[in-house]
């Protein structure tokens, strides 16, 4: 019997049986998802920033740059623009994930988790789940802003849901890249570098202009950019005008918008788990 305010006589090892490992991995992941979501409630400004920046981009592209842009083969540029901006927003999530991972590592919280009898996957899955919630909120807000500035999806409800699913699938893939890079780097300076590189990576694609208008080699690279497939696929599903293109990858946007994220997850999720286990070893 222990007194209520007892700091505790040694009782290490009083832990659940090995058999319930999977259940505990899921419980741990859920506990950590709850932690990250509690952060959102305590820091609403951060979420507002994550939503506000892409909204600003929508307004800039729609009202400042969009007037000069033309869609090859005709069509309203704004209708083609919004799916590109939705995709770009999924890309920005990469550095958001990375910031959270680097912050935990720097504060010693990651080390504490690693010294505890927890499933290694739980920390990463918890992070991933919370970031997906944040991204879904952000994307929802952005869809509404799109509608407010005159974007009109016309592909029907099923295609609409499929398009949103493809955007979130891309986000899910990129967050594993963010987790991996966050575990790899040691300084916040590296996060700034990644944030800066997101822009050229986003522009070297079919998000905002047709790759056909780019120099030959650059255009080919842009067509094979995974972001281009997601943007082209969502344009098709939303019933918005797109750039088209003769290359194989441009002809199969929906297929590639599924394949690319799966390839990225297949590479970066195991890398992340390995890195988490072997961190600073």
């Amino acid at each position: 019997m222990s007194a209520p305010a007892d700091v505790g006589h040694v009782r290490a090892g009083v832990l659940p049986a090995e058999g319930s490992r999977l259940r505990w991995a899921l419980t741990d992941a859920a506990t950590l998802t709850g932690r990250y979501l509690a952060h959102l409630r305590h820091q609403p400004a951060e979420l507002a920033g994550a939503i506000g920046f892409p909204i600003l981009l929508v307004l800039m592209f729609a009202f400042l740059l969009g007037g000069m842009m033309a869609v090859p083969g005709g069509g309203d540029y704004r209708q083609a623009l919004l799916p590109g901006l939705f995709t770009m927003t999924m890309l920005f999530g990469l550095s958001a994930t990375m910031v959270a991972v680097v912050t935990d590592a720097q504060r010693g919280i990651t080390d504490r988790f690693r010294s505890m009898p927890m499933a290694p996957s739980a920390v990463l899955v918890g992070r991933a789940a919370a970031d997906m919630v944040t991204s879904a909120i952000t994307l929802g807000a952005l869809l509404l802003v799109g509608l407010a500035v005159g974007w009109r999806p016309s592909g029907g409800p099923a295609a609409f849901v499929a398009a949103v699913g493809l955007l979130l699938l891309l986000r899910f893939a990129l967050l594993w890249v963010g987790i991996y890079l966050g575990l790899l780097v040691r300084s916040p300076g590296a996060v700034t570098a990644v944030q800066t590189l997101e822009f050229p990576f986003g522009f070297l694609s079919g998000l905002f202009v047709a790759p056909a208008t780019m120099p030959l080699v650059v255009g080919a690279v842009a067509e094979w950019n995974p972001l281009s497939s997601t943007a082209a696929a969502t344009r098709a599903l939303f019933g918005n005008p797109g750039w088209g293109g003769d290359s194989w990858v441009a002809q199969h946007p929906v297929l590639m918008a599924v394949v690319w994220p799966l390839v990225i997850v297949a590479v970066f999720a195991p890398l992340s788990v390995h890195r988490y286990r072997e961190m600073s070893r």
Binding site: S115, P117, S280
Partner: protein, 324 residues
């Protein structure tokens, strides 16, 4: 009885670094004791802690926690240990109570169990009043206490404290020391690193002095109780401070007769000091002699050498704080 912590001939070189961080590190800590790892920055203290807590893999050598091998039985080791690193590893955004409940859940307490354990620990560590406040607004000492409370959720068999009071003010340090003493009273074994000699003196039953010596990487250069380490630099010293500078020659003569060795005389501080063999006899003779000769003494002490003096002797370096 199985030692709580053992390490045998641990070697570790960080990739890309020339020197060995640890070069033949040995340690054995009996259960229920506090062991201090003392040494300057870069001596390998944190490396040793990271290896023992399964965060870092040793290049060679063997280490166990409660009989479990840190390399091959890491999962078992993690069930035995608590770790308080150099940074208070608690969630800055959440409040104190939510931190404890969250970590309690991660230690697989039931939701109700995690909540009641959180309240117990808040009470025990004097944080009940701050339970609902975001940890970002805690003082350094409060944050450390919360950190300790988190590591005590399961009352681990072995608790690792890596420089637990670095950066704290004297009051914060005293708070942490009290908390550590309470944990030890519950049966927890503590392995503590510090660069503060007085901290090792206050808390540790035994001390390992860790240092880089010349070409050799970090290893234990001396081990023992604080008293044993002190006796390495000779015995006690007698210190006499007189009121009137005119009494200094007579005082020096008295100390010479009592101790049988030539005293050091410092006119500026009116101090006479000399090493002494039998401390009690010397003290009695000094009191008697002072009265006999009518010397007005301001202060008379027989003291052990400080750990600063020990460290100086062992490493040839100045005090640890200065070396760091």
């Amino acid at each position: 009885m199985t030692p709580a912590v053992t390490a045998e001939a641990i070697r570790k070189r960080y990739p890309g670094s020339g020197a060995l961080a640890l070069d033949g590190f040995d340690l054995s800590v009996p259960p229920g004791t506090v062991h201090g790892l003392l040494g300057p920055n870069g001596a390998g203290k944190t490396t040793a802690i990271r290896i023992l807590t399964t965060l870092l893999r040793a290049d060679s050598g063997r280490a166990t926690i409660a009989g479990f091998d840190v390399g091959t039985q890491a999962a078992h080791v993690r069930r035995q240990i608590g770790l308080v690193g150099q940074y208070a590893a608690v969630d800055e955004i959440l409040d104190g109570r939510r931190n404890l409940v969250m970590f309690g859940r991660l230690f697989h307490l039931s939701p109700a169990g995690a909540r009641s354990r959180a309240d117990e620990l808040l009470e025990r560590f004097g944080l009940t009043g701050a339970a609902g406040r975001s940890v970002g607004r805690y003082s350094g000492g409060m944050r450390r206490r919360l950190d300790l409370a988190v590591s005590m959720i399961l009352a681990p068999a072995v608790l690792f404290l890596d420089e637990p009071t670095t950066g704290l003010d004297p009051r914060g340090r005293a708070e942490v020391w009290d908390a550590v003493r309470a944990l030890v009273a519950g049966g927890t074994t503590v392995l503590l690193t510090t660069q503060y000699l007085d901290e090792a003196d206050q808390l540790a039953d035994r001390i390992s002095v860790l240092a880089h010596m010349g070409e050799v990487g970090g290893r234990v250069i001396a081990e023992g109780t604080p008293d044993e380490l002190r006796s390495r630099v000779g015995g006690d010293r007698i210190d006499l401070v007189v009121h009137h500078p005119a009494d200094l020659p007579a005082a020096a003569g008295l100390v010479r007769r009592v101790t049988g060795s030539e005293p050091e005389v410092d006119a500026a501080t009116r101090r006479v000091a000399a090493p002494v063999g039998d401390r009690m006899a010397a003290l009695a003779a000094m009191v008697h002699g002072l009265r006999e000769e009518g010397i007005d003494a301001e202060d008379l002490t027989v003291r052990r050498p400080t750990l600063d003096e020990v460290f100086l002797q062992l490493t040839g370096a100045p005090t640890v704080e200065v070396a760091a």
